[in-house]
Symmetry: C2
Subunit: 602 residues, 2 copies
Amino acid sequence: MPYIAPLKDMLFDIEHLAGIDQVARLPSFEDAGLDTTRAVLEECARFNQDVVAPLNVAGDRQPSWFQDGAVTTTPGFKQAFAQFAAGGWQGLQHPPAYGGQGLPKTVGAACAEMLHAANMSLALCPMLSEAAIEALLMAGSDALKATYLEKLVTGQWTGTMNLTEPQAGSDLALIRTRAEPQPDGSYKVFGTKIFITYGEHDMAPNIVHLVLARVAGAPPGVKGISLFLVPKFLVNADSSLGARNDVQCVSIEHKLGIKASPTAVLQYGDGMAGSAGPGAVGYLVGHENRGLETMFIMMNSARYAVGVQGIAIAERAYQHAVAYARDRVQGRPVDGSADASAPIIHHPDVKRMLMTMRAHTEGCRAMASVAATAHDAAHRHPDADTRQQNLALYEFLVPLVKGYSTEMSVEVASLGVQVHGGMGYIEETGAAQYLRDARILTIYEGTTAIQANDLVSRKTVRDGGQVARAIAAQVMATEAELAGQGGDDAQAVLQSLKAAREAYAKVVDFVVGQASTLPGAVFAGSVPYLLATGKLVAGWQLARSLLVAQRLLATCQDGPFMQAKTVTARFYAEHILNAVPAVAQSIVAGAASVTALPAEAF
Amino acid sequence: MPYIAPLKDMLFDIEHLAGIDQVARLPSFEDAGLDTTRAVLEECARFNQDVVAPLNVAGDRQPSWFQDGAVTTTPGFKQAFAQFAAGGWQGLQHPPAYGGQGLPKTVGAACAEMLHAANMSLALCPMLSEAAIEALLMAGSDALKATYLEKLVTGQWTGTMNLTEPQAGSDLALIRTRAEPQPDGSYKVFGTKIFITYGEHDMAPNIVHLVLARVAGAPPGVKGISLFLVPKFLVNADSSLGARNDVQCVSIEHKLGIKASPTAVLQYGDGMAGSAGPGAVGYLVGHENRGLETMFIMMNSARYAVGVQGIAIAERAYQHAVAYARDRVQGRPVDGSADASAPIIHHPDVKRMLMTMRAHTEGCRAMASVAATAHDAAHRHPDADTRQQNLALYEFLVPLVKGYSTEMSVEVASLGVQVHGGMGYIEETGAAQYLRDARILTIYEGTTAIQANDLVSRKTVRDGGQVARAIAAQVMATEAELAGQGGDDAQAVLQSLKAAREAYAKVVDFVVGQASTLPGAVFAGSVPYLLATGKLVAGWQLARSLLVAQRLLATCQDGPFMQAKTVTARFYAEHILNAVPAVAQSIVAGAASVTALPAEAF
């Protein structure tokens, strides 16, 4: 099944919701206006449609393969990644000084969606490099930057994030990997890391691991964790590769999905034969015991990217389902509009499923696009207050982009299977792969519960609900526009949006008011709070889409597209956003029944 | 992971909600009182826990295997099925005249849940035999009954249902398989059937296929379909096996889950070497051109059974998740109740997930138990009116048991993966298998949309909403009891139940009122109508559970269990049932946005 990048929808969001014209007014983004954006996206679409997407099924059927410490990736992956690097895609958002193109995240996020939609398993490799690049840009010493950044930015080498250990997943306080200071200022790292995405592979000659570990004597818990760069091969002064470092892949996991993406168990410092060990040579990134701060920056970047993966796989599943629904002839339309069996896309329930898939995908895409622009303004706006406001907004949106887009992606991919009927359950159809692939998204880079904890604690309670209420105020402004718009569609959206926003405001009051006195009650509703907030923000962006579409319809630009945008916004309001008040009531009044059962009663 | 049958919950439902005492007053069920039921369930639990459950993982890792027309099942399956047959479990509900035990469905449904929870892939074989038995009991000639029934009832042979063809899935009007009358009264069958569960295997020496086909000259569409019995081996007058019939397994499918259950493509009448063909010898079951009537009886039985599969796999996923949540230590409780990292079952969001899994499972189990009793009364009650009322109730509940329990099972199994975090995505953990296995349930034996069409057309509109409104009236009676009960728990449940029932009544008015004038609008909401009805009925049964539990608590019988029953009912009301009013609003007012987009706009 080919993949067709949804350029029209992406550009609609970037132009009208995210506001690329504003982005292009930011220092150093002057060339990143709509025309450049369109050109970049079109080029990106061609590459991903033609080169990357055709390898998606192969990755599932011939997964990465482990033998004797080495991982062989799916045939074709190495070549596609080389083309990706040669095309400059890894450096899209990174400084020209290191070989990047210096484009805004507003553009980069759309490009990332295409890559993940084309082939999520392959795309994970550059996604992890991205996180490593961000960490080094922010906290790396000049020496580390000089040695590693250009190699990563140009896709010659790749990066990884090493957090998880068998006993330390969501709970990083339990990390045991240790780092011993050496006389030359480097460290020797010892320990076992699991679930390391592309921790070993054959797509690049060197792999740059960013590793959380404890220095001897560090404080217990998360305040004693430091971040280290540990290369697979040590690097000589002339940038050539030196000795093999003492980090070894001992196995890869057999997973439900993303099978082509090798998930490695890495052993550090075990005295691997032929290596520079015992002890893996590592270099401190930032300050001792403050590794988590840097890691959080990497994680914010990676969490946003995982949210984009959700949107990407939802889009791919949607396209697959639409194609099948157009093709499969089965059953007469219930409204008697045809005498013979018709393509199932004409059946109301199939339309309902496809509309649900479409509305979720477009809503989350719009939310992510707006978040990306906040990121750009947070980093580049000349005014400090504006930077700060945008940073706060971006950081509020990250757990939503991650948590909400991924939860919806599992639902969308599952609906994609359902549209296919019995054929959806047969692996060769391909619909099931999206569900299996999507199922990791609500788990890695912090489960939905971890995102919800972040949304509650750091993003809502810490500022007394300021950002949350500012969003509600902006939603009210959109309501006022809808009220002035007239027409059934705008009124239906207004009614649902207003009810959701009012219910949401009560939840924010509850969360802010009770977090310190009744934390158990607040956290009993943390995930529902995240989901309700995600629904509100995505629904709000679609409401804005409707206003834009109605305005442009009046001037006759691309009528069918604008009409579809209107219908999709209304569908979202009437069938998805309308769930918010009941969820809000569950959160505010229903905590007791969540936690009442003692552990032994389950 | 061992499976422990939830005997206490099953017996609670059977005693207090289904009312086994009433069942035991029905003719021929006099011996099936609570004590017998308990004894049968305990024996059934031992067998499934000890013999069947241990083969579940093996079935996933070493699926059934096809070569040269033959299917080899997972090692151990053949022996386990032989023990199942020897234990008399296949005949539990069938007439003693054919070797059965003549027990009510109220008991049989609980036993079926255990078998499916223990090993859904294995359990599919006897489930399909069950459907074949029902068809023969109802419509088979004396000769067919004499030749085949005892063999099937005693589990010596197995049965299949052959409906689907490549072009005919949900739409049986498109069936092309043809049957040619022979001078001796038999037929010769020609055609290709796909998705035939246990269509070929090595667990029994003969397989009895029930096959939909057209006789030459039959009317087009579903009114020209007849049902035939086609044995794998012809049967001699002395019951020994004769010639190989001309039906051949040409392949089995590579599926997302239930991998041990072979899903066969069967070729009828192709002149298989060594067979009695060309033409597969078949025998008419019932009357020509009325095969669909019989098939619907089989399907009702099979659909109920698939709903039970949903409950079963949800229970198994729940048990797996609870065990992991007790064991996995990660993170401090947010309420500060402990200073160190604790088992994750103490975290509010993990409790929320486990409570969701538990409440769905118990709610659907209660609904299925009550439906089974309606089936028993429909068939055995001495009073014709009572039989008719119970039949109407049972037939209304079948699409709910099938459609709702299976939709919830996918959600529950997915939550089970989520509770496991990263480990849930690793296949060796076993949590992912439940999700993969469960994902077929909303598809086969009629997708959720097909169930919803049935609920709307045949079960709601045809009788002008009579059964639906009778259920609403019974819910009101439960509300009155809750109002009289007092206490926070009963009041919380009352509030949610009342709101759901009132919203439901409006939906019924809409469905009944608009089905002929606005069928497109009604069917745009058919699946939401099914899901809302399922939530209401399951929530109502849990409300009844709460009343029973409060009464028994007062007399001090098993306090912790009754307390848990109360909390679970309240959780369901506050976090699941409370969604009904918004869904009702979507159905009544939101149809336009479901169907507005033309097919080409997707």
